[in-house]
């Protein structure tokens, strides 16, 4: 038996509610299965399980539960069910086979809910199914009619405030900025997009994402977490991509192993992530896994950004919008597309010298977009 716990979906989460179970007691679960929808300040999150076996004892829905609370029990698939689970608890009677004893109110409710009467179990001693049994069966098995989505802006603001206050209190930030000649990247993008239908076109954002992921391969000191002020390297390069939500707030879910994907794959991942961040349906691993954050302000954003590190991460890389600027090339002033890059680093883990090398590597990667 292993307990399936309420995950901490980021440094800023203390509790959440199960909005919906996507499995029933007795269902087989595998690592990576989405088993529940949890309502958090970041909206409705699909929670994955990382246990293998048969799930049981599901926590009630719509009840606020702290991080670490037991949501369910998972029994190894080949292990026999423990006695307690096989035998009805004391005081529970099973309706005799043949004819189901059910109260009229319970029958009406069960039919209205579309429940199979044969699956109902009685909890009281006389073996008759009551209204309470039907209600509890419905809450266990019936999926909610509408998938919950969206988020509460006031709650999200509170959560951002808590995480960012912790960051400013605990993390000794240092900041670096640089300017990147984005002309080669822009020209390459334009050419790539020229003969493609809109569905296959790329945005500049994917080049920034891939270039950053590449640079992190060279400088892994910025990819990971702090544990009591000590650095713990990330298990992969899982870039948290900051996404502004309509109506205020933001969320930075992970694009896993970003350095290994092609640009079209990253574009697909980004499109999918933005859509789910706004409509609900982010997965729990996407919120717990980011090893660094990248924030790109986009074409209508400000010219530059200095980020605040999301604890327990150790760095955040920022990109402003692309601007046309005078730029010296081979002793001549030319008009070039320029983008301001920035790094906020955790001084307990790295220094500005190394940070400068990271920004340099990002710059370099963007000068050869065809190799990204």
């Amino acid at each position: 038996m292993a307990a399936f716990l309420m995950p901490a979906l980021g440094a800023d989460m203390e509790s959440a509610k199960v909005a919906q179970w996507l499995v029933k007691p007795g269902d087989r679960v595998k690592p990576g299965d989405v088993v529940a929808v949890v309502e958090t300040h970041k909206g409705a999150i699909d929670v994955e399980i990382f246990l293998d076996g048969v799930i049981d004892e599901l926590a009630p829905i719509d009840e606020s539960l702290p991080v670490g609370a037991v949501l369910a029990q998972v029994r190894q698939a080949d292990a026999p069910p423990p006695q307690a689970a096989r035998e009805p608890p004391p005081g529970t009677a099973v309706a005799p086979a043949g004819r189901l004893r059910i109260s009229p109110a319970a029958r009406r409710r069960a039919l209205a809910l579309g429940l199979d009467l044969a699956t109902l179990r009685a909890s009281c001693v006389d073996g008759a199914v009551t209204l309470a049994d039907v209600t509890s069966a419905a809450s266990m098995s019936a999926p909610a009619p509408v998938r919950p989505g969206g988020f509460d802006p006031a709650q999200m603001r509170q959560a951002i405030a808590a995480a960012m206050s912790r960051s400013k209190r605990e993390i000794p930030h240092y900041y670096l900025t640089d300017s990147i000649d984005f002309t080669a990247a822009s020209v390459w993008l334009e050419r790539w997009n020229l003969d493609k239908p809109p569905q296959q076109r790329l945005l500049g954002a994917v080049l920034l994402l891939k270039a950053t992921a590449r640079a992190l391969v060279e400088f892994p000191q910025f990819n990971g977490f702090t544990d009591d002020g000590r650095f713990r390297p990330g298990p992969g390069i899982h870039v948290g991509w900051a996404i502004a939500l309509r109506g205020g707030g933001l969320v930075a879910p992970a694009i896993h192993d970003a350095e290994r994907h092609t640009l079209p794959e990253l574009m697909g991942a980004l499109r999918d992530l933005v859509q789910r961040a706004r409509a609900g349906g982010l997965r729990s691993s996407e919120l717990t896994d980011p090893t660094i954050t990248v924030t790109s302000l986009g074409e209508r954003g400000a010219q530059s950004v200095l980020g605040v590190i999301y604890p327990p991460q150790v760095a955040i890389v920022g990109f402003g919008r692309v601007v046309q600027q005078p730029w010296v090339v081979d002793g001549q002033v030319r008009v070039r597309s320029v983008i301001a890059s920035s790094l906020a680093g955790d001084h307990r883990v790295s220094d500005g010298h190394l940070g400068g090398l990271l920004l340099g590597a990002i710059n370099q990667a963007l000068q050869s977009p065809e190799t990204l």
Partner: protein
Amino acid sequence: MNAAEILHLATNVLAGIAPEADLTQVRGNEDLREALDLDSMDFLNFVIGLGQGSGVAIPESDYPRLFTLDQLVAYLLAHGAQAGPSGG
């Protein structure tokens, strides 16, 4: 498609991208990106929706001709918009 059908298509696509926006408040000559706070991903999705709904192939270099409702109606009319499978 006529102008009214194109406008209907555009508002349908925008409603999917910015569900909270009141499209009746957007003037015909207003930049949609400003009026509805569309980022480049939103705008790309808008172009995809317009292309699918009208059958018009929209090159990236023509994006600036789709920034307002008036502009995009004229553009799609001129390029022979046909009601597609997902068209309004």
